[in-house]
Each structure stands twice: as structure tokens, then as C-alpha cells.
């Protein structure tokens, strides 16, 4: 499932380019919007607020990506073709979540270095916890986003409704991601690891809930 999604996407690159370009624009624009005077008297971007921009850029681009990924299953009603197959319905969900995870990871590979460059934020000072934070936050967004995007797939106002229903659920995840990233920027490793453990629990809880409810959300 995931490989099929990624192959279709790598051919057209429609979702990937949209997500990456949007995320990059968010970072670039905000880097010029929030400035402070440095010790040398120059106006520079505020490194301390970098975590917020990283995760806002990721969130908005992920929303674009997940809506479009499920739109693909609407075009030939291929979701029903998948549901008709003997493949476990949970496998369909996991395949979608994995492909979304990979796309988001590709976008983050662009966004995080951009933030490091434009905000001069030491995002790579603690690579291992930063990697754990990014992977867990991405996994959480993929899992939760896939469930809600599937749920709203046949709804007319899905493009509007998806952020409305999804963002409140993702608030704890993004608080954890932002707090964890902020802690890493100032070297507070214990705090960072706390938020990483929080993300682990969040991901596990929602993964179980998603696996349990996915079939009932997609069958009429």
C-alpha cells in the first residue's frame, strides 16, 4: 500500500512539491517577520521562536498532503477497491500512514535545515534527541491525520473540515514537539526527553485508537 502511494507520488511529485514549497515559504516569510536587534546592531531572526515555526510549517504542509493523499483514493474510488480486497483493513490504514510519514519526513528534511539557516537556531546541536522528536511527532501526525482524512474522504467540505477536526486533536502533539524542540535549543536535555516520552505515549494511544476505529470510519 505504502509503496504504491509513494510510487504514484514520486511520478507526479504533486503532493511533495506542494507540501515542501508551502513549508519553505512559511519558514522564509516568518524569518523576515520576526526580527530582533543583535549585539552588532543588525536585525536578525529570532532563534528562540524557531520551534514554533518549524512545527507550524510541518503542520500546515502535512494538512495539505493528507487531504490530497486521500483525494487520490476518491478519484477512481480506489478506497472501495482496497476495502473489497482481502487485505486487512488495518493494513490499508497503516499503508496510508506510512506513505504520509515518508512524505512528511521529506518535507522536514527541507524545513529543518531552512530554519537552521534563516533563524540561526542550533537545531542540530543534539541530533539524537532531535531525530527522536521529529520522528515521533511525524508518526503521530501521520497516524491521526490518516484517520481523520479517511473519515472525511467522502464529505463535501472535507478541505475545510479536516483542519477544524484535526488540529484540536493534534494540539498536545504540537505542544510536545515545540516544547521539546525549545528545550533542545537551550540544552535542557531532561526536559526534551520528557516531551519525547510524551510523544511516544501519544503516538501509541492514537495508533491503537486508529487501528480500532478505522474500519468503522470507512465502511458506510
Amino acid at each position: 500500500m505504502a509503496w504504491k502511494d509513494l510510487r504514484v507520488e514520486l511520478r507526479s511529485r504533486e503532493i511533495l512539491f506542494t507540501m515542501a514549497f508551502f513549508a519553505a515559504m512559511v519558514v522564509v516569510l516568518f524569518s523576515f517577520a520576526f526580527l530582533k536587534e543583535s549585539d552588532e546592531g543588525e536585525m536578525v531572526a529570532v532563534a528562540e521562536i524557531t520551534p514554533g515555526f518549524v512545527w507550524v510549517a510541518v503542520l500546515f504542509s502535512a494538512t495539505l498532503g493528507m487531504a490530497r493523499a486521500f483525494d487520490r483514493e476518491r478519484e477512481g474510488d480506489t478506497m472501495r477497491g482496497l476495502l473489497l480486497s482481502p487485505a486487512p483493513r488495518t493494513a490499508l490504514f497503516l499503508g496510508k500512514a506510512v506513505s504520509l510519514f515518508v512524505l512528511m519526513a521529506m518535507v522536514e528534511a527541507v524545513v529543518i535545515p531552512l530554519c537552521w539557516f534563516f533563524f540561526a537556531a542550533p537545531l542540530f546541536a543534539e541530533p539524537l534527541p532531535m531525530l527522536a522528536l521529529v520522528l515521533l511527532a511525524t508518526a503521530g501526525v501521520s497516524v491521526v491525520g490518516s484517520v481523520f482524512a479517511a473519515m472525511l474522504m467522502r464529505t463535501r467540505a472535507r478541505d475545510v473540515l479536516l483542519p477544524v477536526v484535526l488540529y484540536p486533536i493534534l494540539v498536545p502533539l504540537f505542544i510536545a514537539a515545540i516544547k521539546g524542540t525549545s528545550a533542545l535549543l537551550v540544552g535542557e536535555l531532561e526536559v526534551a526527553w520528557f516531551w519525547i516520552r510524551f510523544l511516544l505515549v501519544y503516538d501509541a494511544a492514537f495508533a491503537v485508537a486508529a487501528l480500532w476505529t478505522f474500519e468503522s470510519l470507512v465502511i458506510e
Binding site: 504504491k4 510510487r7 504514484v8 511520478r11 507526479s12 487520490r72 478519484e75 477512481g76 474510488d77 480506489t78 472501495r80 477497491g81 482496497l82 476495502l83 473489497l84 480486497s85 482481502p86 487485505a87 486487512p88 465502511i219 458506510e220
Partner: protein, 240 residues
Amino acid sequence: MTSAIDAVAIRGLTKRYGATRVLANVTMELRAGSLCALVGPNGAGKTTLLGIVSTLVRPSSGEVSYRAGTAAVANGGGLRRAIGVLAHDSFLYGGLSAEENLAFYARLYELEDGARRAAALLDEVGLAEEARTRPVKTYSRGMVQRVALARALLHEPRVLLLDEPFTGIDRTGAAALARTLARAVERGCVCLVVSHDLEALAGIADHVAVLRRGKLEHDERRAGGFSEQELKELYHRHAE
């Protein structure tokens, strides 16, 4: 066991979407080696009934049971392996070619000889060789319908459910599809075909069910099949 499904029993099937009742207490039986033509006016509930039999739609009440001899076949992956559906939408990925789509579904259905089977089916449905490697989104409606039929038959289903299969295909294609359906019936498949094309159904359907406003108005089997004229008369008498 699922390879030997010989009857699909529909009992008291009702489906509501909110306050709208789409199916009302439908009871009928589909048998192996028989093709049931499900006819009726637009909005009669034919597609919904087919959706419930395919396991994609849950009934509000009533049940559909699948039998292999005296044993019931449980709903799940094993049952879905035995069901093939050709619906209004093709279930094909526009960005993939016909061969890639069928290869994907062959993997999904865990078919050992998926490539050989896909090639044979594309020959059977008459898709030109040069078209098989182009993305499906470049196909005409008729070509998409042919590949969708190949996809529905790929895993050799025992229960074949087709919704308006003759739409969008030319006379040659319709004749080929009728032959394919006749072969499926000879192999012992349970076939349910929703269609407004009574000419195409004549001679291949030996069971006719007429739906009107969600209710089963007529249910008849005839060993020798139905002529086009007989189908039209049944339609006019019970569906209009």
C-alpha cells in the same frame, strides 16, 4: 471453503441513510451457476443492494449470508477474496498503467500467477497492447471499463457483482462481456448484474429481480433465460 460459495441469501435487508429509506425488507437468494439481473428505475436501491452484498455497505437491518454447502462463510478477508465487483467507478489508479494497476491488485489478492493472469485478462477484455503501459488517466471511458472488468475478474471470484457493466463500451465490448459473464456462470459463479441494458442481459440472465423505491417488486427464475421482450415486459409491469 470460500472457493465453493454456492448461494447468497439476502434476508429482510433494509438500509436507511438518515430519514431516507433506500432499501425496504428485501429478501431474495442468489445461486451459483446463475446470473441475476437486478433492474429498476433510478433511485430504486440497486446500487445500495449491490454495495451491501459486496460487504462495502452495512445494512440498517437484515442480513446477507454466504453459504458454501451447508456451512456459512464468515465475513472477513476470506469472503472478500471470493467477491469481485465492477462498480460505477473503476477502482483504478489514474497515475498507474493497466498493467501496474492489475499487478498491484494481484499482490493485494496474493495471486501467485498475477502477471500471467493479468495479461490473459487484458487480452480477453480486448485492451490494445500499446495502451497497457500508458497511465489509466489517458484512457477512454470504454478502455477504463475494460480494465476495471479485468480487475474484477483477476482473482477468479466466486461471487461476481457488476453495476452497469455495459455502460461506456461498444457493441463488440458488450458482446465480449456477455460471453465472459456466460463463462462465469458456467464455472458456477454467483452473478448479480445491475443494468438498464436489457438487450445485453437477454439470453444470459436466468433470474430477474425488479426493485422499485427500495422494495423487491418481482423475483423470478426461468431455466431457459429471458428474452429482451420478456425483460422489458417485466420492467414495465413492476418498475414503472
